[in-house]
Amino acid sequence: MSRFKLYTGIFVVLMALSTTQALVERTGLVDFDAPGTYWTAFGVILALSFVKATFVATYYMHLRWEPRSVTYLFLGGLFVALALTTAAAYSIL
């Protein structure tokens, strides 16, 4: 029973955060001619995505109730992908 409430609460949060991301876009912060505000909005929006992903992985995918090693396995894949992207992008800056 409590799990059901927990899942529902998370669902509401996820929908709200997605809406927030779209709202940030509507406020004009995502202005491709104004790098200052653009990169702020960029940070906010991606941070929200990470928060949402963490909620889904932690509760819907039950990582919270698995041994920590499963999380590390998943993070390992993420780390590899980020390392490739960051280093490759940096190499041409």
Partner: protein
Amino acid sequence: MSSVKRWFVTTNHKDIGILYTITALFFLVLGGVLAMLMRVQLWSPGAGVLSAGAYNQAVSAHGLLMVFWFISPFAFGFANYLVPLQIGADDLAFPRLNAMSYWAYLFSGLLFIASFFQGGTFDGGWTMYAPLNLPTYMPNIGGTTVVLALIMFIAAVTMGSVNFLTTMYRMRAEGLRMRDLPMFSMSILLTVWMMLFAFAALLAALMILAAEHLFGVTYFSAEGGTLLWTHLFWFFGHPEVYIVFFPALGIMAECFQTFTGQRIVGRKWFVLAMVLVALQSFVVWMHHMFLTGINLEIKTLFMVTTIGISLPFDLMVFSLIYTMIKGRIRFTTPFLFSLGALILFIIGGITGVFLGAVVLDYEFRGTYWVVAHFHYVMVGGATGLFAGVYYWFPKMTGRMYDETLGKLHFALYFVGFNLLYFPLFVAWETPRRVFDYAPGLTSWHQVASIGGFVLGASFLVMFYNLFKSMAVGEEVGDNPWEYSTTAEWAVSSPPPLENFPGKPSYASGELSFRDEPELTADGSGDGKPVVSVSPRSDGGVASGASETSSGPRSDGGSVRTEGATAGGGTGLVGGTGTATPAAAGTATTHGEERHADHASFWPFVVCFAGFLTFLGVSGIRSGGVYPGLTAVGAVLSAVGFVGFANESFYVPEPTVAEQWPFGGVENMKLGMWTFLASDVVLFGGFVGSYLFLRVANGWMHWHHAFIPEAHVTFPGLVNTYLLLASSFAVVLSLVAAHRNSSRGVVASLTVTWLLGVGFLINKGMEWQHLFHISTEAFPNGWAVGTNVASSTFYLTTGLHGAHVIVGLVMLLYMIPRAWRGAYLDDDSSLEYFGLYWHFVDIVWLFLFPLFYIL
């Protein structure tokens, strides 16, 4: 069962190991013949037996076949055969997946062979550099087929990696700690870890390349595109060197231990060094890119990491040398090959340092220095694998090879190898991948060509030896090697179908076979277990076997009867049986359940269907028989997967096993998570490519120049809502199953399905709209190949959409089952599906902002 049929339906790890080995040897011969053709061509500078185009094809196919279809699968023949034996498991965790992995490997190779007959095979070099790999420069259908063959090969590799990781983490014999794995198993463990991530990056690169050929996306022809290919390729390509070399290193370590009677000196440090190399291998890839336009700081950084990676290797080399010094060497054939591999690797390693230094690399890149260095490393690795052939031949066949012929093989091999490759260091000014060279280098090339034929001939000796010995070789017992210590030598040769007489256990520090609980419970447990050698869990030298070891040696056949009566011994077989395993010959239902007939025809069918489909897709744009082949392949795939899913296939999970660090995570769940970890890297490759190209084209410029006004946030937001809701519905199905509500499960799964379909419809409408917009900037719509932004958008979200479709197909299978009341007692299938579905959801959570907002 007829003996031919057996090989098509087998799922036993030993059978599959043999299939892998034989198939790999076939590709060795094929790749070797191509190499011989090249050496004939290079006998003198200028034109020869091959046309320019044929030479390019021979070079490319030789490289690709040897690197992909020979060397790693050859090592995985041994891995399949031996890892379960070494860790005390009955089989791999997923036997049918293992069979599927083999068939996917075989058919991917056949696909490659088919490419030769499609107007010419791939001719852009094994590194497949852009833009040469693009349809503009490679209009042959065969070029596309090779890309698809590689994709199918990676499917095989991924299935294998997931299977091995799950097996090695979850099915080790009691008392066998990870750090104590025998050296060969340890090397395979690290290899599959590298494979899991490295091949996922290559898969991303190849899927993009296939999309360039089939759908006309423009990644690699865009600004920064050629550099993008090198990044993706070498992010895979450098770890690949160690993926190839590590199994050989493991075999070398085993052979050094066995044939010097000396445990590897500094074993712990040796293993740590291997772990370090495996990690470091992912941060050195740009040393292949010193001549590209990447910035100088990062070149310097990668020079440092590259030279740094030689340090752990130094440690391993010295450890092997000290092992020889401290032990008493017996120069058997496996030892000679191991020693040869070490020498070749040392030469290959030293010459590699030249290439790792930025300044020297400017001089050597694109010359035969690279060719020579590369072959010393890779063929050096293969040398270690041939040590494995001789080392385990008696175990696999029960007969001994001919030692004299074995030594002759080694002599011809080693002399031929060095005659072939050492002159290439001297003739280093020869341009790579070109059949013409300065006439002054002719004599060096002639020596090399002679060496090539000696090397080739040495294999005739090997094949003759192995065939003859298989029939008339001296019969050997369980263990022909005096100081061998790993568990495979404790069972008969060849090992029985179920591997072990009872449950292997290392709980006492030595290998013993614990009886089935029922047997010991009634006090009849004596005498049954047989331990012919006493391997220690870490594969070190057996107690009493050499003067350096310590500790009294208990009598071989120690049986842990006390464990069997305690709780740990119960439930080995589900605790239902009353039959005694001693009476297994009477084939009670219980016994049949335990050693269920694991034969399955479906892995073969599915992979054959995949072969037809890929072959059809390769030429689908050119009509002819190809669309028909695609259709037949697709239908047969569907039949195959349904058959596969409906077949009851029972694999008991060991209840007494070491499972650190994944205790409490069932095999299936761990397999799913492992697969998802590789999928993260696949999507990472796609998203990373998008980010890289966007950086290369100017982040803001991208938005201004390439994106139409009509590409708005709203459809993406709707899809985000739909996917999140569908995730919630999947979670609700678990809640319903928990409440024993069959209708609840059906309802929530159906809602999931409808939301997923809604997602696809919404996406389809959006795409239709974008395809057909007609603005000043995009008068012909914003199609797949319009520009780099449209290409990245459609391909990345398309890959995601394909994941959604796969999920929907799974639901179509699950909903009727739920209707019939499945999943109420055991909701694990719902959970595994949920893992997949939520993961696809998570990916979208990032695609949405990156492709719609920012």
